[in-house]
């Protein structure tokens, strides 16, 4: 189960069909479905950025939402103060990229500083990033003059983004471009070194790689991707609040990568689709039966069920099934000869 460089013809045809299907959707469905799908596309990139950390570096970042939330706040604050125009949007993107890379650099310097290995380091890293994320969230909550604190920030968006159908296509293009970029990153020599660090950091170090440096690069790439998805999410939502910076938001990414399958990159798209659709369905059921007022019950159950029964996610499940089939075919071929 590896991402490979070559695209077989069969795969290309399937992808083309999928793309055609997705581009028809906004013309045949209602506004809520269009928004839901735009949300899925954007969250897929957020989850994918998490997968680079979790799946390719084996690093659990509990403060990952700081990049995402800051991206959303960047567009919000700038639209509010400098007017809702396209140039401001571009400045927000630049700001988000710069902030994410600097924040990721600082975070990496603190977290990757202490050497060592084993579960204790993973736990310590998780705690440190949790603390850093909480600092950013508290700062946003306190800095009322800019962020409006816990009330949240609402703002107008530029004319060209206000059409939901058009924005659906922007989100789709955003997802495709970012997926290709991140795929290229994972396939690059740097990405390969990251994977070798995940498998055996000591050995990678003995081969002469400066593992700290590579981990920093990985964290920065993930941070920038997360920040950009936050910018898109801010435009989609037209509202930002400190919830976007919370641990819960980070754990959503963790859940999405887990549902889709960690270390598979594409799994993030499937995970984002599944989690967002289930979430919106549960919210819809509230009008059916009062027990769905407590829809979090079912959402929480999803965490537990996925961890126990599908530890490798949907993509992992798919590979297990196809591997079994291949083994069966091979067996029968051996039997005949």
């Amino acid at each position: 189960m590896m991402i490979t460089k070559d695209f077989s013809k069969k795969r290309l045809i399937i992808l083309a069909l999928l793309l055609a299907g997705l581009s028809v959707i906004p013309h045949v469905s209602g506004l809520s479905t269009i928004t839901l799908f735009s949300r899925i596309f954007i969250m897929a990139i957020y989850a994918m950025s998490y997968d680079i950390l979790r799946g390719y570096m084996g690093f659990i970042n509990l403060g990952h939402a700081m990049f995402f939330g800051t991206g959303a706040y960047a567009v919000g604050v700038m639209f509010r103060n400098f007017g809702s125009t396209l140039p401001v949007f571009l400045i927000a993107i630049v700001f988000s990229v710069v902030f994410s890379s600097i924040a990721a650099f600082i975070m990496g310097k603190i977290v990757f500083r202490s050497g060592g290995k084993g579960p204790v380091v993973v736990v310590a890293g998780a705690m440190t990033t949790l603390a850093l994320g909480e600092i950013v969230r508290h700062t946003a909550e306190r800095w009322r003059s800019v962020t409006m604190g816990a009330d949240g920030l609402s703002y107008r968006i530029p004319e060209i983004f206000s059409n939901r159908i058009l924005f659906y296509y922007y989100a789709l293009i955003f997802m495709i471009v970012m997926t290709l970029v991140l795929r290229q990153f994972v396939l690059s020599p740097t990405g390969r070194v990251l994977m070798s660090i995940r498998e055996n950091e000591q050995r990678a170090e003995f081969l002469g790689y400066d593992t700290q440096k590579y981990k920093l690069i990985g964290l920065q790439v993930a941070g920038i991707a997360s920040g950009l998805s936050g910018v898109m999410f801010g435009v989609l939502n037209r509202f930002a609040n400190t919830e976007l910076l919370s641990v819960q938001q980070t754990l959503n990414a963790l859940l999405m990568t887990l549902v889709g399958g960690t270390g598979t990159l594409y799994g993030a798209i499937i995970g984002s689709g599944f989690v967002n659709i289930v979430q919106s369905q549960l919210l819809n059921f509230r009008s059916v039966h009062p027990v769905f007022e407590r829809w979090l019950l079912f959402f929480g159950a999803m965490y537990v069920i996925v961890v126990i029964f599908m530890p490798r996610g949907f993509v992992g499940l798919y590979y297990t099934l196809t591997d079994k089939q291949k083994a069966k075919v091979q067996k029968s071929a051996v039997g005949k000869s």
Partner: protein
């Protein structure tokens, strides 16, 4: 001077409550390597069960016992059926305990409603003493006493009994304990449930102090307990005691002098400790 003594008493009482949460969390982390996100929900379950029984029977002791009993059983249930399946897999542990936390916190809202329940202090602790012009709230003194007794009890349990010896050995070298023919899984369940019961006790004692119990109190106190664990040193019992007192005193001081900075200060302290002394201020580094 008056205000200083009041602040110290407030801080120590707060520290005692934090200690009840953090000590279980710390030992669970040290022994099993589990980052337990269910602790916050066990805390509010303790509080709600206490309020429920206390309003039914009007007995403080029965309420406390019920809270401890229920959370102990919940701990056994969590460990046996869920956490024990994912030992050694940190992300799975975080997700599974988090899922349980989400489910059981929402169950509280389903059973007792989403609005906070109010509760008074029991009659025999409701008064205040006035010593030399300083007002001392009896309940806070009671909390400090409970904290000291529990700390002393756990210390004896860990250091003077065979169970404690095995748990301490398990924190350092679980594989070695297994090799000696000891079924460490039973001890895992026992420690997890014990930590859960301490969290429940903390919740039960917290409700009368604040005067109400809300379903959102869990996550807030859990983050505080995590900070205590990190500041004190992971897996170290003495560390969580020291960390609780430090955070309690710091919290009450900051709440008086600079209320806006309360949460930032806690998290900032944690970040500084992690950056410069990752093994914690009070704990000895645990080697795994």
């Amino acid at each position: 001077m008056d205000i200083f003594i009041t602040l110290v008493i407030n801080g120590l009482a707060q520290g005692a409550l934090l200690f009840l949460l953090a000590s279980g969390l710390s030992i669970i982390l040290g022994l099993m390597g589990v980052v337990n996100f269910t602790h916050g929900t066990l805390f509010i379950w303790g509080g709600y069960v206490y309020i429920w029984i206390f309003t039914l029977t009007d007995s403080f002791l029965l309420g406390i016992l019920a809270a401890v009993g229920v959370t102990f059983l919940m701990g056994v249930f969590f460990e046996k059926f869920f956490v024990s399946r994912v030992y050694g897999n940190v992300p799975a542990q975080i997700l599974i305990t988090l899922g349980l936390q989400v489910i059981f916190t929402d169950l509280v809202r389903l059973i007792w409603g989403a609005t906070p329940l109010t509760i008074g202090r029991p009659d025999f602790l409701a008064d205040t003493w006035i010593v030399g012009g300083i007002v001392i709230v009896q309940y806070r003194v009671f909390l400090i006493a409970v904290g000291v007794i529990v700390a002393f009890g756990i210390h004896l349990l860990l250091n003077k009994t065979k169970i404690g010896m095995i748990v301490r050995a398990g924190v350092q070298r679980p594989d070695m304990v297994r090799a000696l023919g000891i079924n460490i899984n039973t001890y895992f369940t026992f420690v997890f449930a014990g930590g859960a019961a301490l969290a429940g006790l903390g919740g039960a004692l917290y409700a009368p102090l604040v005067g109400s119990m809300a379903s959102t109190a869990g996550m807030h106190n859990q983050v505080l307990a995590f900070i205590v664990v990190v500041v004190g040193g992971m897996g170290s019992f003495m560390g969580s005691a020291g960390g609780s007192v430090l955070l309690g005193l710091m919290g009450s001081g900051i709440a008086w002098f600079a209320p806006g900075f309360a949460s930032v200060a806690n998290v900032g302290l944690m970040a500084i400790v992690l950056a410069f002394k990752p093994s914690g201020l009070f704990g000895l580094a645990v080697k795994k």
